[in-house]
Amino acid sequence: MILETTQQALQALFAGSVPADEAEAGTPRGNGVLTRDYKTHGYHLDAQVDANQLLAAVTILDEGGFFIESITGVDWIKENQLEVIYDFSRYDFDACRVVIRTRVPRDKPVVPTISTIYAGANWHERETHDFFGIKFAGHPHLVPLLLPDDADFHPLLKDFKA
């Protein structure tokens, strides 16, 4: 039930276009909403949005009563992109896990902060900034959280050499 309404709401951001699955297409997928097989993937909805659509997508989830699970990044060095992944889930028995992802160029990794919507995103964004160097525009306190205060390296980047 909530799955369909959320899917429709997110779909509205893309004017109804459905992207191809990258595993089948063999190329990076385009922006859009995909439904995933829960049994193999462990989540239901997978939406890739543009960085400037992010706040709209997260607001949909906030209004839908989702809670934030985590935020993380992936370094796609071959495509010269950084991906930010937002996980959302629900407290009720209408199990629906939603993954929001957005890709930004590696040399200019800036996405808007969602800590204005979800206060709990604060630390997750700081952690992602620590590990990937992704800047969250508008974040109130973007200083290293898990790494030392003077850390100027980003260990989870694929070209990081210790």
Binding site: T40, H41, V74, R97, V99, A119
Partner: protein, 372 residues
Amino acid sequence: MSAPIQLRPDETFLLNVGPQHPATHGVLRVKMQMDGEYIVKAETVLGYVHRMHEKMGENRTYAQYLPNLSRLDYLGALGYTHGHVLAVERAAGIEVPERAEYIRAITVELNRVASHLFWFGAFVMDLGGFSPLMYAIQDREHILDMLEAVTGARLTYCYYRFGGLYNDVDDDFIEAAKRFIPRMRKSLKKYDALVSGNVIFRNRLEGIAPVSAEMCRKYGATGPVARGSGINFDVRKNEPYSVYPEFEFDVPVYHECDSLARYKVRMDEMEQSLRIIEQGLEKLPDGPIMAEKKPKTIKLPVGDYYQAVETARGSFGIRIVSDGDKNAYRLKLRSPTYSNMHLFDEACEGMLIMDALAFMGSLDLVIPEIDR
């Protein structure tokens, strides 16, 4: 690192709780701006035991990563390894024999009871009562002995394997577990009389540190913290995995939102875990403990996979992004206490320091698990 102490015109002062402080149970630091005994503002400083487990996940094969998981949370390690093996099995499509899943569920629940017992003792010790810790450790010792006889380790277990288990349980374990359940129930009654009913204890917790359900949602709090705020959320029920649908158990939920509610949730959870263990021992089927069809080296198909499990501290999630290699391309660990601890900064504003530290105890923090 921190700014030099400057007495502001409004005469607040900065109090450094941690990294070495008896109440933080590990190397956690909270910078508190205090007005007398009242907290004006708190800022948590993390990372003192950060070990970059996620990078290790990229450099090790899936099997080699198994011991890392139990180093996250040394009190309830089995829950975390369970998450990892389930995630890999889900992605690789490995069918796990029923017996293995039952044994996993039994051992995870035993570990959950052990973890809650230790939390119980440590929490009461935070409040100044020392003896309950010793009683809790005695009961926990029985669990550790049982788990040691099966897994070979007392805390940092590496027992589950992809497709099954390292080795089967023997009759001694089943006997010991059956003996343990009534003894533990008796102990729970004792704890109830000694601690839960105690007027000093109740006065310290009742109505202290309210965390609303909305706040839990915004911060992503899970586990007993969410359930103490009236949220009926338990991954074992909401997204059933393993053999949990076969068990009959309740999810304790309290609507008071205070520290006492979080305490009660955990105390009730121990009873529910005992119920699961009881049923598990009864239903334990015969059969193999290792999947027959299992590749020698595990390579996951391209894609990303998520698995959530309910550990003693809340919903632990593991995300594996695979590029088809034998190592993960990216491995993210979503630790429950990370989100639960995040609440603290906002919730403790305006609280007395002794209430705040009791609140911190009621969050059940394990620092290595926050810092990863």
